[in-house]
């Protein structure tokens, strides 16, 4: 892109004489306030609308060298559909002061839309000539009548008269630190126009053009370099932010400018009046336009890495000098209500590049992407401004939540240290909103459990359960001992049981053996009672003899003794049914006779005989 600057001829001190009122037609006048005798200068009447019948004032005390040069410019602007049309008409006169003193240039007038508008009168002070070359610095706007031509003698503009310089705000910087480059044109000769031939490339830099827009003209000032006074003009002002370390080179900028040089050769000529007429300064034949390309020196910037030591985790590349604050619109709310959390970083530095710190919201919050707005303005130190991140979050569940504080770390190149700023932490109490389903209405808005992270499970605390290494219970003596003890218990149990059984068997056998003897004893006593005819005692003895015998013989316990058990046991022992029946019958008759007294003697005899008979029979079988 080729940017074209138009450098108005040196107007060191241009003062707008009247202020503009919006939209009203008006006529303004601008000129130098002080001139030197013999100096050429111009006076410009400017109207903001086209008009007729321009009447110039009488320039009393000045030579009118030329004019009026009329130029018209108009522009149409469309902003959001509204059209603004700006027209400007200027009438320029070239004047020369020839006598010392203070002169007033009267009002000029112009008829616009039938109304006559006038300019303010202006006072010009003419100073005595001090002999300096300042009279040469008067000049003209590129008047349409002037003819440009290249001098045959090819005059040169030396590098001392006209040069371009780049002025960095610092020679070395950290990564991310901003450096302001000012491209300045220094000149001692009038320059009519200039254009950028080759814009510098900024490899390894982020750049932003911060050239102040002064409406076509350039800001000028006078500077003294090595004792020589130059007029300087800022061509361009750029903020560069290095993105990597090392020595970064900014390529030169090249501009092409057209300088107006007075040709010495044509100055003093013959006295030919014709010639002298054209030598009249107004015609300016002794000024030629010389094209000259100017370049800056390539410029190296030492870029240092940001120190690694002491770098906080929250550092995300911000370099400069900032303030940080946060703001929340409410902390008491109900569910499904939106909260706005605003984080603001403001200060000087690469504000457009910096990354906003991100707050951590509770997991149940619905978080929308933040709206990030950046506003920057240009200061002498470079860019500064404000970056805002506006978070819109909606809590979906009731409860008390905390938005933890947010850390913002920047590197301050001035102190070469990290600064960490923290925002407030907010505690939000969220109440259940009205439109939340209360108990009874269960909508299916259940959610799966959200896993926020994973980690190893925590250590085991409490009992260490320590034991010596390589002590395995299995195969150890204790193990075998345990098994052996169990086995031993088992064997002992079996043995003891067996022994007890044998003992029980032994008692049964002895009872069996003695049964006959006992029975006989009883029968003997029964026989005595039979002789004595003692009926009761006889039956008792008889009954005991029979029951006792069969109980001992069959090994039946006395408590379980009955007719049924006797017959059952006898059947088990394979006693012939006949004998069993006989025995039971005998027992029956004995019992019957015992409880039915008054029976005959022969009955007692018979029973006695049957008793002996059945016992002896049983003795044979059992």
């Amino acid at each position: 892109m080729k940017r074209i600057f138009r450098l108005l001829l040196f107007i060191v001190c241009v003062v707008p004489v009247s202020l503009w009122a919006q939209d009203d037609p008006r006529l303004t006048v601008s000129t130098k306030k002080q001139v030197v005798v013999g100096e050429r200068f111009q006076i410009v009447f400017e109207a903001n609308a086209e008009g007729r019948n321009f009447t110039a004032p009488s320039f009393q005390g000045f030579n009118v060298l030329g004019g009026p040069f009329t130029s018209t410019s108009s522009s149409i602007q469309m902003i959001n559909g509204s059209v603004t049309r700006t027209t400007s008409v200027s009438y320029t006169y070239a004047l020369q002061a020839y006598q010392e003193g203070t002169y007033t240039i009267g009002a000029a007038s112009l008829t616009v839309h039938g109304n006559k508008v006038s300019s303010q009168p202006v006072e010009v002070k003419v100073l005595p000539d001090d002999g300096s070359g300042s009279s040469d610095s008067g000049g003209y706007a590129g008047g349409g009548t002037q003819e440009q031509h290249q001098s045959t003698s090819d005059p040169q503009v030396s590098g001392k008269d006209l040069f371009l310089k780049v002025i960095p705000s610092k020679k070395s910087a950290y990564i991310g630190e901003q450096v302001v480059l000012t491209y300045k044109l220094y000149t001692k000769v009038p320059v009519s126009s200039l254009s950028v031939e080759k814009a510098p490339t900024y490899a390894g830099f982020w750049t932003k053009d911060i050239t102040e827009n002064t409406g076509g003209s350039l800001r000028q000032s006078s500077e003294i370099i090595n004792g020589i006074e130059y007029t300087s003009a800022e061509i361009q002002k750029v903020v560069i932010v290095p993105q990597r370390s090392g020595t970064l080179t900014v390529d030169p900028m090249t501009i092409e400018c057209i300088a107006q040089v007075r040709t010495e050769s044509s100055r003093r000529r013959s006295n030919d009046p014709f010639e002298s007429f054209f030598n009249d300064p107004f015609f300016n034949r002794n000024y030629v336009n010389v094209q000259k390309d100017l370049s800056t020196q390539p410029f190296n910037l030492e870029v240092k890495n940001i120190p690694v030591t002491g770098k906080p985790d929250s550092f995300a590349g911000a370099v400069g000098n900032y303030t940080f604050k946060s703001d929340i619109d409410k902390t008491q709310l109900s569910t499904n209500e939106a909260i706005a959390l605003t984080l603001t970083v403001s200060g000087t530095g690469n504000i457009e590049l910096l990354q906003m710190p991100e707050p951590v919201f509770p997991p149940d919050f619905e978080v929308y992407d933040p709206k990030i707005t950046t506003s920057t303005n240009v200061t002498a130190q470079g860019l500064s401004g404000t970056k805002k991140a506006e978070y819109l979050v909606i809590p979906r569940r009731a409860g008390t939540f905390t938005i933890p504080q947010v850390e913002f770390t920047y590197f301050n190149p001035a102190t070469a240290s990290y600064q960490t700023l923290t925002s407030e932490s907010y505690t939000l109490s969220v109440e259940k909103g009205k439109d939340d389903p209360e108990g009874g209405v269960f909508t299916s808005n259940q959610e799966g459990i959200k896993y926020l992270g994973s980690d190893v499970r925590h250590i085991m605390t409490g009992d260490a359960k320590l034991r010596s290494m390589n002590t395995v219970f299995f195969g150890s003596p204790a193990y075998y001992v345990a098994l052996l003890v169990l086995l031993l218990l088992f064997v002992i149990m079996l043995f003891v049981l067996k022994k007890r059984e044998e003992m029980a068997k032994d008692t049964a056998a002895s009872r069996n053996r003695k049964a006959d003897k006992v029975a006989r004893g009883r029968l003997k006593r029964a026989a005595q009672y039979l002789k004595a005819k003692d009926q009761d005692k006889f039956y008792v003895e008889m009954s005991q003899a029979l029951w006792g015998y069969i109980a001992d013989k069959l090994g039946i316990e006395r408590s379980k003794l009955s007719m049924d058990t006797v017959s059952e046991t006898m059947k088990e022992k394979n006693v012939p049914d006949e004998l069993t029946q006989q025995f039971i019958d005998t027992l029956n008759s004995c019992e019957f006779a015992r409880f039915a007294p008054g029976s005959a003697e022969e009955k007692m005899d018979d029973l006695f005989q049957r008793g002996i008979d059945v016992i002896s029979k049983a003795e044979k079988v059992l």
Binding site: S454, D455, I459, M460, K465, L466, S468, V472, F473
Partner: protein, 243 residues
């Protein structure tokens, strides 16, 4: 008596170290914790919590191979511990090599899963209990008057016999695995598994730290190893830590 007093005191100090180590872990000074856990192990004491906590400390220090080694060690003592299994799985996610285990027949898997239900000591106790029950059943079978009880004794005796046999086998296997260091974790960042126990032999495959290998045999500072997918090769013994 003097022996018991000595071991008792050693146990006490080891318990103190354990508590101090846990406190250090909670205070996030993991290297101190590891040092104290190592001290316990150096005093010839061990337990699942010690290995497990030490593994956690190594994990937090991002020394994943050592963490895996500790977890494996804890699993050897108690193959059924859920915490250890979980953390081992997490630690295994942090290492380079992802090894697909060779598909195993269902009965091998079933056998292993069954064996992993209890620790070795628990299997030993299980065998003792099963033995006791077996004797009770045998007693019933031999001595019961009623036929039903005798039948019950017979069949339950058979079941207890099987349980006794299995737990003895499991306990024996776990005892052998705890006494032999037949597995190892690769500790060197990158190792090349060779085709023979020689430096100049052919490179077979590359393993990274944290990989688990089974040691099949060893000779002259080289171990024949098998990785989970069944590949076999030779690796220098000093690049791995057996367990």
């Amino acid at each position: 008596m003097a022996f018991f007093a000595l071991t008792g005191r050693a146990q006490e100090t080891a318990d103190q170290w354990f508590e101090q180590a846990n406190a250090a872990y909670n205070a996030a000074s993991y290297d101190t914790a590891v040092m104290l856990y190592e001290k316990i192990l150096a005093s010839d004491m061990e337990s699942v919590p010690v290995y497990y906590n030490m593994g956690n400390a190594y994990y937090k220090m991002r020394e994943y191979p050592m963490a895996i080694w500790c977890y494996e060690k804890a699993l050897k003592l108690d193959p059924s511990n859920d915490d250890v299994q979980t953390n081992l799985a997490i630690a295994n996610l942090a290492i380079v090599d992802k090894m697909e285990p060779m598909p195993e027949p269902f009965y091998v898997k079933g056998w292993r899963n069954m064996r992993a239900m209890l620790s070795g000591d628990h299997w030993a106790w299980c065998s003792i209990v099963a033995f006791a029950l077996l004797l009770v059943a045998l007693f019933l079978f031999l001595r019961a008057r009623r036929v039903g009880l005798r039948k019950l004794g017979f069949f339950s005796g058979l079941v207890f016999l099987v349980i006794f046999g299995l737990s003895v086998v499991f306990a024996a296997q776990l005892k052998r695995s705890s006494e032999t260091q037949d597995q190892a974790i690769v500790m060197a960042p990158t190792v090349t598994v060779k085709s023979a126990p020689k430096e100049e032999s052919i490179d077979l495959f590359v393993l990274h730290e944290g990989a688990k290998v089974a040691i099949l045999e060893g000779s002259n500072g080289w171990n024949k190893v098998r990785i989970a997918n069944g590949s076999v090769g030779w690796l220098e013994a000093d690049k791995m830590r057996p367990f």
